[in-house]
């Protein structure tokens, strides 16, 4: 499910089944030297999460990405965000990011960290294979979450 009217309506009707929220945490860096790399990892994260959404449409809602820069990062109350989503009826709230600084407080937040792969130079066939490979890394994390409950 995407965060659009049609899907949200379906979520409201099927809360028993759609019980997982996937929140991308997107680091933006506008520094002259880092802006290109930052856009590349943003592109990767967006493509990947859209692909995850396609595979698990009926159980997972892909929340619009929460973006921050180095300076605004501290203002991002991710714990409260998780609480909000849980209050909305999502039993599982997972974060996904390419920014490795999130891995340090992994325990309480459940952040899936993936290294960004530059997709921009690849043709669509290779891109698809790469995304499928990355998806295989995420599936066990999702299913183990689902089997816990």
């Amino acid at each position: 499910m995407f965060f659009n009217v049609k899907d949200v309506q379906q979520f409201q009707a099927q809360k028993d089944f759609i019980d997982t929220a996937l929140v991308p945490l997107l680091s933006l860096d506008f520094n002259e030297s880092k802006i290109k790399q930052s856009s590349s990892s943003a592109e990767f994260l967006m493509s990947l999460t859209a692909f995850v959404e396609q595979q698990f449409k009926g159980r997972l809602m892909l929340v619009p990405p929460f973006s921050y820069t180095e300076q605004t990062k501290n203002g991002l109350a991710v714990n409260l965000l998780k609480e909000d989503l849980q209050n909305a009826g999502f039993k599982h709230v997972l974060f996904i990011t390419c920014d490795h600084t999130w891995t340090s407080n992994n325990e309480q937040l459940e952040v899936i960290w993936l290294p960004a792969i530059p997709l921009e130079s690849m043709d669509s066939g290779v891109k698809k294979t790469i995304l499928e490979e990355q998806l295989k890394q995420i599936i066990p994390k999702l299913t183990s979450k689902w089997f816990q409950s």
């Binding site: 379906q10 099927q14 089944f17 759609i18 396609q54 595979q55 698990f56 449409k57 009926g58 159980r59 997972l60 669509s124 698809k128 599936i139 299913t143």
Partner: protein, 167 residues
């Protein structure tokens, strides 16, 4: 010169009928064309999309076949990649849509070890038989959709989505 000579009157008659005929046709043709236009319009959704899957390589075992087409959403044109599960059933080629009829997840063939030779949806454990028929007692309420299939130069061509005809 032949014996039956054409008189001036005859010559003018012939030329006028000829030229008049062309003019009448020139006026009538567009009118007729406009009148029957709806019948001449090609239907875009009937188009078949070529895949890279050879018909000769297909077996009874469903394989994943990707195909892309362009989709226009307002001013935004994007290339959409879709997938189908394609297999041979006797001589016929069957292409099933991988979209689960429950809430739209993507189903996989043979991915659940407890129920081999079935399509399995990882989201809520929905299962479908090879024909696409939903297994009763699992969440899905209908069979998997099917794609229209044709063949060109030995490659599988996929058309529009239709309701399952096998389940």
């Amino acid at each position: 010169m032949s014996n039956n000579r054409v008189s001036r009157r005859q010559f003018l008659n012939y030329t006028l009928t000829g030229v008049g005929g062309f003019m009448a046709a020139g006026m009538l043709m567009p009118m007729v064309r406009f009148a029957i236009d709806p019948a001449l319009q090609t239907k875009a959704d009937g188009d078949f999309v070529q895949t890279s899957q050879k018909v000769a390589d297909l077996t009874e075992e469903p394989v994943k076949v990707d195909f892309s087409y362009e989709q226009v959403d307002a001013w935004y044109t994007s290339e959409v990649t879709d997938t189908a599960w394609v297999y041979k059933s006797g001589d016929a080629v069957v292409a099933l849509s991988p979209v689960c009829k429950h809430l739209g997840c993507t189903v996989n063939w043979n991915s659940d070890t407890e129920h081999p030779n079935q399509f399995f949806c990882a989201c809520h454990g929905g299962r479908y038989e090879k024909t696409g028929k939903n297994v009763p007692g699992t969440p899905p309420l209908g069979p998997l959709d099917e794609y229209e299939v044709s063949e060109q130069d030995g490659f599988v061509m996929l058309g529009k989505k239709i309701a399952n005809t096998r389940g």
